[in-house]
Amino acid sequence: MDLSYTPEQEEFRARLREWLVKALPALPPKPSPDDWPGRRAYDLGWQRTLYDAGYADVHWDASPTMRLIFLEETETAGAPYVGANFVGLLHAGPTIAAEGTAGQRDRWLPSILRGEEVWCQGFSEPDAGSDLASLRTRARRDGDEYVVTGSKIWTSHAEVADWCELLVRTDPAAPKHRGISWLAMPMDAPGVTVRPLRTLAGSTEFAEVFLDEVRVPVANRVGEENDGWRVTMVTLSFERGTAFVGEVVACRRVLGEIAREARANGRWDDSGVRRRLGRLYAEFRALWRLTQWNVSEGEAPSGGGPGAPGVPGVPGVGGSVFKLRYSRARQELFDSAAEVLGVGALDLEQPWVVDRLSSLSYTIAAGTSEIQRNIVAERILGLPKG
């Protein structure tokens, strides 16, 4: 068990740190949360900056430990988050890299890395949430094209995306996992309608996407027809492991700020408040250790590459253990902020109040805590399926 970094890793960290000091002041001002075209331009610009500096493919080609260092340092320095590049860099891109043809890789991957195109995700449907494989959006083959009709939901960045990684049903007669295909759909195709969804936090973080006879070339299918479920699982397993590195770093910083606020407003004199914050500090330290543990476990002997299936480089169900604990800890963090703020917690202008609202999605998005517990119980502990 070794928690120290190699000289090579430390050098990577030092060079990155040095570069961030120079690169961050040159960033344009941050767009407002409601300015979607502005957010797109800002996020793509950051990806382009990373590309020019040689950091564009850190999510794909770097070892998990290098990725951990990259995410830790960029978050600590206050660099932009992946934002609109999220699906391209962490879902669609790795899927295309692992399962696409040479032509598909050449068409889509460079534009993701260079910050030229935005991807969104069309997986969930109004009637297919936790039971994703029951999705009903239908793709009918018509010559060289699929004709797609249905609706998708919880699609982030749909308003500004160029492409959508879309799961469609190509064989309604097959068992539900075996009749699904993975398509790259251009978002400007006729028949695509995007309707923003307002969250309980008041913002429009995602959208519903309605598809009415949308024509998608068969050449845009990644993987075999009806093999989309397996193709998708490659993507989903890739997302875990380092997915929350930046957030854990950020949560530790927020916890420190909450402690300082408590000290300033007198709440720190309450031993109950101090003890709860002390426990949360222990919790986030442990979550950092769990991240280091999972990343070490994910270190492939021969750097498996993005989404390479079945190699130790793909973090597996350990991600469910992490997500269960982290999502709860994040909610407790902002609840404790509210305890420190008192009446201020009812004022949307106060820090952390909107974050507290947003944190409510964490036990639901990307697999509810209930689904995660099923995964842990069935795949790790070997309990029978219900």
Binding site: M1, R260, R279, R289, N374, G386
Partner: protein, 294 residues
């Protein structure tokens, strides 16, 4: 960074697990419950296996290993519910003659003035005059209490860390037992583990174990007092809450003397006190948080 067990560490853990399964399996455990008393023969065998002299230099007759290895060994002791003042004797190795070899049984005054196995120990670390016997809740841990022991004088860090390692091992045991029971016990024509209400209890058992595991292992590597405080909180929770949930999964049988779950819970309670005040650990962490926040 390679925060995983090395092959040697895996082998060490496997070896200790095998030794304890052979020498302190379930029958011996239940026998010890019915006939309390320290098994001196087992104690010497543990000494010969290097249990107590693990961290002593080889030149001094020890094994020459470090705190991470000690933590793995104590995790296995906790998993086996091995009784006796193991941590105190381990920490006395090198200082008290015979402790390393298992000839001398050493106990110590722990958190809240608690002393385990006082009547059986050959040597006591700390002041025990006026110690009063308790009717111990744990049938495998005789207890005394030193009246007026200063609450502030908490046990030292390594004592707390190795106690946390034992808690981790007991938490592992409760998780394994709950899962085993959930797979085999049938109701409504199905293993109860097929029901989500039971399944989710088991999943949470594992989550607490894994969080405690990384916290304890990391504290063993850094030996940082803040990491140790964090580790003990996670390990106490995993062991105590784990035993409670395991008992729940066992249903009515969990409430009986015959099933081992209560032994896990009672030992976890004893160790949670032995590690000193939980409030103090939380306050230490809170103080460090403020320092880090600047």
């Amino acid at each position: 960074m390679r925060f995983q067990l090395t092959d040697d560490q895996r082998d060490l853990r496997g070896g200790v697990r095998e030794l304890l399964a052979r020498r302190f399996g379930r029958e011996v455990l239940r026998g010890a419950v019915e006939r309390p008393g320290l098994d001196r023969g087992l104690w010497r065998e543990l000494g010969e296996a290097g249990f107590f002299g693990l961290r002593l230099a080889e030149a001094a007759g020890g094994v020459g290993l470090g705190v991470p290895e000690a933590v793995l060994v104590f995790e296995e002791a906790g998993r086996a519910l091995l009784p006796g003042p193991l941590v105190a004797t381990h920490l006395a190795a090198g200082a008290v003659p015979g402790a390393a070899t298992g000839e001398t049984v050493v106990t110590a005054v722990g958190g809240g003035g608690l002393v385990e196995w006082l009547d059986e120990a050959d040597v006591v670390v700390g002041e025990v005059s006026g110690a009063v016997a308790l009717r111990s809740v744990d049938p495998l841990t005789p207890l005394h209490r030193v009246p007026g022991a200063p609450a502030a004088a908490g046990p030292d860090d390594l004592f707390v860390l190795l106690t946390a390692a034992e808690q981790l091992g007991t938490a592992v045991r409760t998780c394994e037992a709950a899962v085993q029971h959930a797979r085999t016990r049938e109701q409504f024509g199905r293993p109860i583990g097929a029901f989500q209400a039971v399944k989710h209890l088991c999943a949470e058992l594992l989550v607490r174990v894994e969080v405690a595991r990384v916290a304890v292992y990391a504290a063993a590597v850094t030996a940082d007092p803040v990491d140790i405080a964090a580790a003990r909180l996670a390990a106490d929770e995993a062991a105590v809450r784990g035993a409670r949930d395991c008992l729940q999964v066992y249903g009515g049988m969990g409430f009986t003397w015959e099933v081992d779950v209560h032994l896990c819970l009672k030992r976890a309670w004893v160790r949670a006190e032995r590690g000193g005040s939980i409030t103090e650990s939380e306050e230490l962490l809170a103080g460090e948080l403020l320092v880090e926040a600047g």
